[in-house]
């Protein structure tokens, strides 16, 4: 996967990813319009399909709302690369089919650099600067869920 990079800091929480005031609406497309709006009002307007978020520690801390990774995914985000993730966000992201990479890429990318990621091989490349990083790929059973597009299609496949 390949996309432009959006750079954020530590502790990007689920309330800024998708504020509680929008959570009565279970339509993911309308939620995606508000993704990250309390942190970066430009994001939802300018994000393009496949863009990559590169962030610091504890990405997705806070509530268990699955709407957080859903809003990012439906806004177009192709992957989130962070030094560490809050555990529920990490699970939710895999379950809704949003690739997450636990890796410190903060020193490797500036905003608008282009990132190329291979999840299976554990390789991340900054196409703008040519720098390359390596990360531990996710366990196979999690990669399987991502390959199927999330836990719903993955489970449906197993049940039928």
């Amino acid at each position: 996967m390949r996309g432009r990079v959006w750079r954020y800091g530590d502790h990007v929480n689920t309330d800024v990813i998708i504020p509680g005031r929008y959570l009565d609406d279970y339509d993911v497309r309308s939620m995606a319009k508000h993704a990250l709006e309390d942190l970066d009002p430009r994001f939802a307007k300018d994000v393009a399909y496949g863009d990559v978020i590169v962030a610091g520690r504890n990405f997705g801390c806070g509530s268990s709302r699955e709407q957080a990774p859903l809003a990012l995914k439906h806004a177009g985000v192709g992957a989130v690369v962070a030094i560490s993730f809050a555990r529920i966000f990490f699970r939710n992201a895999v379950n809704v089919g949003l690739p997450v990479v636990e890796f410190d890429a903060t020193g490797m990318f500036d905003g608008w650099d282009v990132a190329l990621i291979n999840l299976e091989k554990g390789v991340i490349v900054n196409e703008t600067t040519g720098r390359t990083g390596r990360f531990e790929p996710l366990p196979d059973f999690l990669l399987d869920i991502l390959r199927d597009g999330g836990l719903v299609p993955h489970t449906a496949k197993r049940l039928h």
Binding site: V16, D24, D38, S64, E66, P139, V152
Partner: protein
Amino acid sequence: MKNEYRGECDEGPMEAMTFAQKVLSRASGREAFPGEIVSAKIDLAMSHENAALVLRAFNEMGAKEVWDPERVVLLFDHRVPANTIKAAEGHQAVRAFVRTEGLPHFYDLREGICHQVLPEKGHVLPGMLIVGTDSHTTTYGALGALSTGIGATEMAAVWATGELWMKVPRTFRFHLTGRLDGPVVAKDVILHLIGMMGADGCDYRCVEFVGPVVDAMSISGRMTMCNMSMEMGAKAGVAFPDQRTRDYLKGRTAKEWGPVLSDPEAEVEKEIDLDLTGLAPQVAYPHSVDHVKPVEEMTGIPVDQAVIGSCTNGRAEDLLAAERVLHGRKVPDSVRLIVVPASREVYLWALESGVMASLVRSGAVVTNPGCGPCLGAHQGLLAPGERCIATTNRNFRGRMGSPESEVYLASPATVAASALKGQIADPREAIG
């Protein structure tokens, strides 16, 4: 039936295990070691309004029926009564599902907050493995359960199969000694710990609270501690069962239970000894829960709103602590004091004991049991530039309304003292 949640690993020549290992070993049917991923059988599965999302995923998976209706508890607390048409539609969909599936444990809008109602109604027992589609599901650790938050889609898989993959957590143990003075309570302790550890300081860990301070704490206080353990990243927080636990469960459950404890020789990743004697009331300032300072460094900051309630601090002893500060005095017109009892049981107690009447005389606006304004859905949102001090659990930007508002977190006594003064105030002075 006896000791259903205890399993065999409390007997026999197994090697020493932590509490989290024991629960996950029983639930997965094999010896579980920290760092391993196991498929665990779930004892209790809780969802609130987001059951609507769970339901959607459940249907999309093509699942036919709930694996064990006795083990599923559903209720509404985040938006009660429904605050928008969309919220009402979500409620409607879940009610219909409850009827057609014949789910026996459903509490509609009248009972209160999930994390208060499940213990009150006797659903939570020591040693259980509990998951809930809410991050503060860690609260049930106060009764000695291993309990954690999960997402809606994976809850659909739990409904379908009764199982979930889980990483066996390593353990941090907080050994809390000394004595809490005056109005200093569990909330001040947990805010202090979060400030010390940081918002991700206990990531993925099971956090055990032990020592004389915890022994002396009520179940209500232990619930506050376990509830907010997740604000330092913990997968679960636990206080081990004792006589207080037995007293609490008596009359709430007819089931037999036995405590599940960490073995004394079990390997713990980190032991943190802390003497809390002299600890001051604590306040978390915007916009992160780990921005914590003693109240004296924060006094004088004007507030527009004060909120007492939530799954963190909406229980009887919390309302009582606030009433003791406010008793017979009036909150100035410039402050909106909002009180949200955590449950119907708490609400009735407050009415019958006279505590509620006293709070209302002091100027409180009382809303129905539920999450209230904590998550910024309704019942007291903040305008740009406004400031609120609350007994709730998060002060993230925009949490309680406008992204240009501010939320400070503190104990019920500190919030009450601040409401009286119209600015952040030290409850030790208010009580005098």
